[in-house]
Symmetry: C2
C-alpha cells in the first residue's frame, strides 16, 4: 500500500468535532491544525525560525507558483521543498488546479487537463493530473492533492461536470503517484448541491485515500451552504482519515469547521491581513492604521503570548505601518498566525476535555468580526 | 559632571588601533563597534530579537525622521525610544543636522539654527541646537550628538564657516542638555582641510565631552583625504574618550578607520544593500539576483555562521528576490549586519592579540570589492 507512512489516530470526539494525530514523515500533526500559506516557498514576511517559535507545524505551498518560479525541477535538484525553504515540519502542496482555473481568460480546459498562460510572462503551459503529481513529487511535500476542478458554486451543470472530471482525475493521480513518502488526498467537489457532494464523497471514499479535502467552498457561497456541505460529507467520509477544508480561514470559519468534523485548514488570511494593517484577535479585528492607536501603549491583545504582543505597542505597530516599514508586516503576521494557532490549540483542548460545544459558542459570542475595512481580503485569490 | 554614567576603558592599543569598553546605562559596548541604522525606530526588515541573535549591541536612530514621525513627544510618552522599539541595548541618535542640511532646496540656515520643510508633508519646522537636544532628550538614546553643520567637503570658506557654527552650537547643546543618562558627543568638522580639522578637534577637546565624532566624511571626498583627516584628529582627541566615525560603512572603510583609531561606526549600508539584493562577504559583494545563483546550493558565505548562511542557499535567496518576497531583505540584512559585526569582532581580537596590522592587511588583500552594481548605494542619504 502506498500510504503506510501516514496514519491518523483519532484521539477524541466531542459531537462531530475531532482531535487526532496525523503521522507524517516530517513529524506528527496534532489536529485540528491550521496551516499558514507559503505560496512561493515562504510564508510572507516571516522566517522559518519565527514560524517554529509561534508553534506552526504544517504549512502549505502552491504548486502553480513554484512550478512557474523557480521551477519544481530546480527545487528537486536543491533537495526538495523542505530543504529549499528550510521547513523541517510537514508541508502540504495544492494541486495547482485552483490557481490555474482562477486564471479565467488565460486557460482552456479539456477532459485531459488544462492549458494555461503564466501570469508572470504569458508563456503557455499544460497541467494534467499526471503533470500535477509529477510536479508535486518534485516538490516533495508530505501531503499532496489530487488535481481537481473547482466550479462556480451555483452552476449545477458545471458543478456536476467538474465533479465527474475531478473523480476521473483523482484516479489518474493515484495511478501516477510513485513516491511512498507522500500522502495523496482526494478533493470532494459538487458546489452547493447536496446530492453532488454526497456522490463525490462516496466516490472518493471508494478510492481508499489517506485523507480527504473538501474543495470548492469559501468561494462565494453562503456560510449556511458551506456548513450544510460540511455536514453532508462528514456523514460519508471515513472516520479514520483526516479531513481538510481548503482555503479557510477566518476564526469563526475555523470553529464552525471544527464543529463539523474538519481536521485541517489553510488560509492566506493571517498574513494577507497583516500586510494590510489588520490584526486578528479573539474578539475581532483591529485596523492598526487607525489614528486612535497613535499613542496606545497596549499590545494588540493583552491576553496574547506571541512575540509581538509580549514586546510591542499598538502605537509602535501603527508607526511602522505609517512609515511603510517592512517590520509591520512581520510583527502583525507573527501575531495573526499565532492567534489562529492558539485558536486551534484551544479548540483541541476543549475537544479532549469534552467541552467543545461550550468553547465554540463562547468563542463565537465574543468574536465580533468587523469586516468593513477588510472584507475583500478574505476571498481566496490565485 | 554630566557624564559620570559613561566611562571608556581603553583595554589595548595596537599601532593606532584601539580596543575598549564604553559603559552606558544600557550596557557595555565592546569597541570597535559597528551600529546598524534604525532610521525610523526599526532596523529595516529585522526584528530586535534577530538583531540580538546576530550580536548587534549599538544601533543608531535618526532624530530628524523620528521628530517628524511619530514625534519625539509621542515616543517620550510611550516610555522613550528603547521601550518604543524594544531595544534594550545602547542606542545612539544623530542630531538631525545631517538630514536637515541634505534637504537643500527645502531649508534655510542662519546663525541660530535651521528652518526646513518636512519631506513628508512640506510642513515648516525649525531646529536649533537647543531644539535638537530637546528632541534627543525626549527620544532618550544613550549617546546623543551635538547639532552640527556638515559642509560640502571642498568648499573652504563654507567649511570654515560651518565649523565655527558647529563649535558654537556644540556649546549651546552642552548648556541645553539636562539628562545625566545621556552622553553628548561633539562633532569634528572642517572638510578636507587639515588646519580646520586640527582647529575643530582642538576646540571640541577643550569642551571635555564624553566622546567625539568625526563628521563630514564619507560625503564625496577621496579615501586618501578621509584617511588624512582621521590621522590628524587622532593625534588631538583625548585618548580616553571614544571616537565615532559617522556614516561609515564599507568593510574596507571599517578596517581603515579602526587602523586610524576609530572606535564606533554606523552605516545604512548592510541593510540598504540587502534590499538591493547585494550580500556583503569578507571577499567582496555578491549580487544575488545574478542568474548564476539560480541553482547554487551554497550559502552566501561558507564560513559565515549567521542564521541565513546556516540555513539558506543562494538559489533560495535568489528565488525570494525574483519573486519579490520580503523575506529576501530580512535574510540578506541578517547576513550583512552579521558580517560587519563579525568583522569588528575579529578586528578587536586582533588588537587584543597585538596582530592588527597583519589582520588588516590580510583582510584588505582578500577583499575584492565589486562596486560596479551597487556604488550608488554606498553614498549617505537623508
Amino acid at each position: 500500500m502506498n500510504t503506510s507512512l501516514f496514519t491518523f489516530d483519532l484521539i477524541a470526539k466531542d459531537g462531530q468535532a475531532r482531535a487526532g494525530v496525523f503521522n507524517t514523515p516530517h513529524g506528527d500533526l496534532l489536529t485540528p491544525v491550521f496551516a499558514p500559506v507559503g505560496t512561493q516557498a515562504t510564508v510572507k514576511a516571516v522566517t522559518p525560525a519565527q514560524l517554529e517559535e509561534l508553534g506552526a507545524t504544517l504549512i502549505l505551498a502552491n504548486t502553480y507558483h513554484l512550478y512557474l518560479r523557480p521551477g519544481a525541477d530546480v527545487i528537486a535538484e536543491l533537495g526538495g521543498l523542505h530543504h529549499f525553504m528550510q521547513w523541517q515540519h510537514p508541508i502540504l502542496t495544492d494541486s495547482g488546479g485552483f490557481q490555474v482555473f482562477s486564471l479565467e481568460q488565460m486557460r482552456k480546459i479539456d477532459e485531459d487537463g488544462v492549458t494555461f498562460k503564466s501570469h508572470i510572462d504569458g508563456s503557455i503551459h499544460r497541467f494534467t493530473p499526471e503533470k500535477s503529481i509529477e510536479v508535486q513529487q518534485n516538490l516533495g511535500a508530505d501531503i499532496i492533492m489530487a488535481f481537481d476542478e473547482c466550479a462556480p458554486p451555483y452552476d449545477r451543470a458545471y458543478s456536476e461536470r467538474a465533479m465527474q472530471r475531478t473523480h476521473q482525475w483523482a484516479e489518474r493521480c493515484l495511478r501516477a503517484k510513485t513516491r511512498r513518502d507522500q500522502a495523496l488526498f482526494g478533493i470532494v467537489q459538487g458546489g452547493v448541491f447536496p446530492d453532488l457532494r454526497q456522490q463525490s464523497a462516496d466516490y472518493l471514499t471508494s478510492l481508499d485515500l489517506p485523507g480527504y479535502a473538501i474543495g470548492g467552498l469559501s468561494v462565494g457561497e453562503t456560510k449556511v451552504e458551506m456548513h450544510a456541505m460540511l455536514e453532508i460529507v462528514h456523514g460519508i467520509l471515513p472516520e479514520d482519515k483526516p479531513r481538510y477544508l481548503m482555503g479557510v480561514g477566518t476564526p469563526e470559519d475555523l470553529i464552525n469547521g471544527i464543529r463539523r468534523g474538519v481536521d485541517i485548514f489553510d488560509c492566506v488570511l493571517p498574513t494577507r491581513l497583516a500586510r494590510h494593517s489588520a490584526a486578528m484577535t479573539f474578539s475581532g479585528r483591529l485596523n492598526l492604521l487607525n489614528a486612535a492607536y497613535a499613542r496606545d501603549a497596549q499590545p494588540i491583545d493583552q491576553n496574547c503570548q506571541c512575540y509581538t504582543c509580549r514586546h510591542f505597542s499598538r502605537a509602535y505597530l501603527r508607526h511602522l505601518i505609517v512609515a511603510k516599514e517592512m517590520l509591520a508586516a512581520t510583527l502583525i503576521s507573527i501575531h495573526n498566525i499565532f492567534t489562529l494557532q492558539e485558536l486551534v490549540r484551544q479548540a483541541r483542548r476543549a475537544i479532549l476535555e469534552q467541552r467543545f460545544a461550550a468553547f465554540a459558542s463562547d468563542f463565537l459570542q465574543q468574536y465580533q468580526q468587523n469586516k468593513t475595512t477588510t472584507s475583500s481580503l478574505t476571498e481566496r485569490k490565485p
